[in-house]
């Protein structure tokens, strides 16, 4: 049982350049823990104080987990988890 996790360019230093890796878990939080066990440092790039970082979006299939239960959002073994950095900024 494995979930496919799509990794953005900026985090590929943690995956040896791989664009996608496999992970296990039935929630987003479990998948992140499992990723961290093999790709050290990834968790800190995604979470801050135990919450999803403001600059990061995570999608289970095509749904943003912020609107689907956050880190407790369920993940199926056929799911694809996509990590994308937010694209934002401004003059302030």
């Amino acid at each position: 049982m494995a979930v496919t996790v799509s990794i953005p360019t900026i985090l590929r230093t943690h995956t040896g350049g791989e664009k996608a890796v496999e992970a296990k878990g039935s929630t987003v939080a479990e998948v992140i823990e499992d990723l961290e066990s093999r790709h050290s440092g990834l968790k800190d790039r995604l979470l801050k104080d135990g919450k999803l970082h403001r600059f990061v979006n995570i999608y289970v299939d095509d749904e943003d987990v912020r609107f689907a239960g956050g880190l407790e959002a369920p993940v199926k073994e056929t799911s694809t988890l996509t990590i994308l950095p937010a694209v934002a900024g401004g003059m302030r």
Partner: protein, 156 residues
Amino acid sequence: MLVIRRDLLDEIVAHARRDHPDEACGVVAGPEGSDRPERFIPMLNAARSPTFYEFDSGDLFQLYKQMNANDEVPVVIYHSHTATEAYPSRTDISYASEPEAHYVLVSTRDSAETNHTGHEFRSFRIVDGVVTEEEVQVVETYMFAHTGADDVPDLG
């Protein structure tokens, strides 16, 4: 250096003007590894603000899905500043997460400082929080710009 076709530059500036006084934002995608901006993709500023921009998270997902399917990357990520210079703000730097992209800024302020592009249009690399401005070369076609494609020549 950013080498960009005139028509793409014009599209970016037109989008910035159209959305003024809100900030406008978008991407010019190009083939992976080419460093050549080709496909203009204006995005909605989900923040609808004169001082902030953000791609809607659903739009962002669809954008990357489409680019992945086409073997494209965001060669240019652009946005406008509506009252300040075309230089990355602290917020821009903290969010910048595509080390291989050209971060383009256009200013639509009243006293815009026009450069050789005909607009206040500037390009930057933002890597690990460090901003480096780069030259912008405007071309009519990529055919003779030593960038490849548009559609071939460039011998010697």
